[in-house]
Symmetry: C2
DNA sequence: GCTGGGAGAGGCTTA
DNA sequence: TAAGCCTTTCCCAGC
């Protein structure tokens, strides 16, 4: 395919905010947050209507080079067609130098309705909040604006002995971060309220080392089974997966 | 375009491990680690030679739905062409139901040479390791296989007083995680070696709260300036951005 | 505009 | 395979 013809097709496609796909042999040079060079090879350049710019190889989900909200330029330089994407703050540039172009595909895509996702952490949190007794008898939620509003903790509650209970919910396997995040919150609540404060981590599972750390901190872990469905995620079961830690209180 | 014809093109493309692009109007249903429904609309389905499967809208870099190493199936169901991707462990499924197809593009992509990236954390770490005196006089690297090999710490060193020094390097702004990661490593090294151990965090910058936490832990922070170039990332300067904490030792 | 934090994170390396 | 960790993380929601 003629590079000059490709140039016209690409420019027209971009100006219409179509989905633009350029397939050809190119070299890619990136400089910005890091730097990279992608050797000459057959690639797909995907330019979307929001000026996102992505160079894909024929493997992996993620593009090898990419830029969001790019200023896109297309020009003939010598015997090559150079498609570049630039951005400031941080300053970044991708240059894709096409030696030959197999095809330029342009498609009008209309406006896109949004994805509706179920089973988010927020949704599970709301679900759990509905019935904390499910977790432990006598546990009741506290709507402490100053703590909850700033997203400091997922759920703040009080147990039957009047102790504060900070609950952190993770929809995926809990790791060190989850444990230490909970530790920080417990420490802060303890300090603000000047009351005994427990910390409960709830997740589908937890790594062995993370569990050890959690136990050293005197925190509690419950394993959560949840069910993903429509229109909501449902909590199926919850189980204490830990030796009792009442000795800490 | 005829759906039956599209089916043939897609199947042929997949069997050749070509890059396959399907543009058309579809509805997407996902169930697995979460659940989602993408309303009917014009989408791009990108199937790569490694069986990665991604549904793109005409915006954003990331696909709305995706699966790696999928078992891909293509069949006519009533008046629709259904392209689905399935996986076990965890069990997941994406169903894309095409009501109409604008185009199927297939391109032979050859094998792809790899991306060469500069300025990664690993590279900066190697660069810094070349001259630790740059950071502090008398500091020298220890190549403790048992500690370094498992990626426990970025750099392990010994200072002029014979104290162990754990160095954690971040190529981006350091956060709570970085501080607590360093804290964990320091604790572990201290335990293993039974020696006084310092912890140094090196990053371009650090948040105010993260710095406070770091200071409470008795750790040290150095701000790092680096320059990304070809063929290597270079460390330009390093500077202690903290009141001296010798009182801790 | 900058920032903190979640994500179906992705993807890599080593145990 | 599982665990840990880096990423040009991407992306959104809050300020």
């Amino acid at each position: 395919m003629q590079l000059s013809q490709a140039k016209q097709l690409v420019e027209a496609s971009i100006s219409r905010k179509d989905l633009c796909m350029v397939v050809g042999t190119c070299f890619v040079d990136y400089w910005g947050r890091a730097a990279s060079k992608l050797p000459k090879g057959k690639r797909l350049l995907l330019i979307k209507g929001d000026n996102s710019f992505a160079v894909h190889q024929n493997r992996l989900l993620r593009p090898t080079n990419y830029m969001m909200n790019a200023r896109i330029n297309c020009e003939l330089v010598g015997n090559n067609l150079v498609l570049s994407a630039k951005k400031t703050n941080p300053k970044e540039e991708i240059k894709t130098i096409f030696y030959s172009i197999d095809a330029v595909h342009s498609h009008e895509m209309g406006s896109s309705a949004d994805l509706r996702l179920f089973g988010s952490e927020r949704e599970l949190s709301n679900e759990l909040m509905q019935d904390l007794g499910f977790l432990e008898q006598g546990l009741r939620p506290l709507n402490q604006e100053e703590v909850l509003r700033k997203g400091l903790v997922d759920i703040l509650a009080e147990d039957s002995f009047g102790r504060m209970v900070v609950i952190e919910l993770k929809r995926r396997k809990a790791d060190y971060n989850a444990v230490q995040q909970l530790k920080r919150y417990v420490d802060q609540v303890k300090k603000i309220k000047s009351k005994q404060t427990r910390g409960i981590l709830i997740a589908p599972e937890i790594g062995r080392h993370s569990l050890e750390l959690l136990e050293r901190y005197g925190l509690e872990f419950y394993s959560l089974e949840f069910e993903i469905g429509n229109p909501k995620a449902k909590i199926k079961g919850i189980q204490k997966k830990q030796k009792t830690i009442d000795r800490y209180f």
